[in-house]
Subunit: 328 residues, 2 copies
């Protein structure tokens, strides 16, 4: 073989090798570090045939909190922005709202003022915006909102404030035979209309808080109507309850970011065999928000202690994620 | 080519053709008839690329009632036999039951006597046998029962009284990209331990009636405890409610056998595009049981009228099924 021919073959081989290495990195937004290593090691151990920790594909269940774990949650859960926008859209039909709290404050986009009405006020506002319509009508409202509403600080669509590293993790797990579920304190019917596009998670794998439904025939047409009665609050102890109800078996992998996720992580780790518990720790005040024990939204206190004691994976967003959001 | 050679090639081709035709019959227990034709036509229309009724794989959802649709339900729902067997097993710790109804009748396996205590008695008995333990402990009881208890009339294990034609239908649908769900008035936690083996349906796709659960730490170990409070009665209007809650989208294919399935079938048929509603009609008093409008168990009255009016598929078990149960 001539020398130039050999050289170009070498160049070609190197190029192929470099491309393959870069194309095959399943977690490009995760920097080399303890969290990335822990994830890769767990997936290898549970999915490689012959591994002592091998788990059959049907039993590979992974559950994820949503607010603060898969997308941002500051300065307040994004569903609250949906509520404010709905109140604004409905205000024309409710002139009485102009002088009554918490509507008055919400119309002025004054969150602190609105929160002053306490839980009773919040229940009223949730009933006004989330009940009394069919599930189809509500889903249409959410779809319209998620396609147009923007976050006040970043100017992004809320669905463009999902965490790119977590999206890569979801894809990586699914490519290794895991079923990925959302288990969120947020509204189930609020997440379903956009979760499939944002995360690749279909409606049946979106678990959240929900109100009761009622079946009725309207002029012979069957409808499901959203009722003003709470069915499940999918937070704290409600998360393992919801997991049993909807999935019927214990996850082997779970990710959260706050004390509301502690019981889901405990439930996951208490099963037999190798397991993974992860916490997204919000350490990046520049690219995102930095908060943990003292924050009212996404309080991470007891779960941080449990993670430290238990040797769970604590993701340092600032140090371990090369990017936060996807390209819009 | 020599004549003998040609002949043997023909023979070979015919043999291959015959074998393929027989091996490829996906519904061997369904005789040629209207129900078989309707099923094959629907699956072809919704799954053949280029068909005007084509449905993407992610949207192919099929829901099945259980009692009387996937397995038998006479002389009484099989879960009632589980209740009687549990009461018997627990009676040693409850000497007071010997003289109190409905326990006294249940211990004598006198169903009529037990039913005389009405709904209040049944609620008591359900609480005694279905609550107060962890979900894991209950699942273990069900597994033990389903592996040993036998039907008084057939002598078969209850799980050997599943309908072979319906099992073939489940497999056939899954091979064409459908997700198959159980949506049953029976207990969700009662069905899950054996449904994967009996029907190939995993726990997450088993929807049924359920009671509330509570999360607790017992000596630091997380448990889910079954509570004596009803969460959902998955029957009549509760079926479409449960479908929305658990699946989050409308089925395109549904099968039932009684008035308790009417709303699920209506909900399925009211969606856009091509749809399928099926009714198992119990017409075979020799190989199974013959009953419809007048039966207390599995009453088929309004749903039979709706099926006739709507042109739904009504399966004549006696005429259309070549066998009822699988080989034990």
């Amino acid at each position: 073989m001539s020398k130039p021919r050999l050289q170009s073959l070498w160049m070609f081989a190197l190029l192929v090798f470099a491309t393959a290495a870069s194309a095959s990195d399943p977690l490009p937004s995760w920097k080399e570090g303890p969290s990335r290593r822990a994830i890769l090691a767990f997936v290898d151990a549970t999915t490689r045939p012959g591994s002592p920790d091998f788990v059959p594909e049907a039993r590979r269940i992974a559950t994820f909190d949503n607010d603060g774990t898969l997308w941002a949650e500051q300065p307040v859960y994004f569903q609250v922005f949906f509520v404010m926008d709905r109140i604004q859209a409905m205000a024309g039909d409710h002139p009485e709202w102009r002088d009554v709290e918490p509507y008055k404050s919400l119309l002025a986009r004054d969150l602190k003022g609105a929160l002053a009405s306490g839980e009773k006020g919040m229940v009223q506002v949730m009933a006004a915006t989330h009940t009394g319509m069919s599930v189809d009508a509500f889903a249409a409202q959410v779809r319209q909102w998620s396609a147009s509403a923007r976050h006040p600080a970043t100017g992004r669509l809320f669905t463009d404030m999902v965490y790119q590293p977590m999206r890569e993790l979801l894809v990586y797990l699914r490519e290794h035979g895991f079923r990925t579920y959302i288990v969120s304190g947020g509204g189930q019917e609020f997440m379903r209309p956009w979760a499939e596009h944002a995360y690749g998670i279909p409606p049946a794998q979106v678990i959240g808080s929900y109100g009761e439904l009622e079946f009725a025939l309207q002029n012979g047409v069957p409808v499901l109507l959203k009722q003003a009665k709470i069915g499940l609050v999918d937070d704290h102890g409600g998360k393992p309850v919801a997991i049993q109800r909807f999935i019927g078996e214990r996850p082997i992998f779970a990710f959260g970011n706050s004390d509301g996720d502690l019981q889901m992580l405990q439930w996951t780790m208490a099963g037999d065999g190798r397991r993974f518990a992860g916490i997204v720790h919000h350490t990046d005040g520049e690219r995102e928000w930095a908060y943990d024990r003292a924050s009212k939204i996404g309080t991470l206190d007891k779960a941080l202690d449990a993670a430290t004691t238990g040797g769970w994976t604590i993701v340092d967003m600032k140090a371990e994620w090369s990017r936060i959001y996807p390209d819009p």
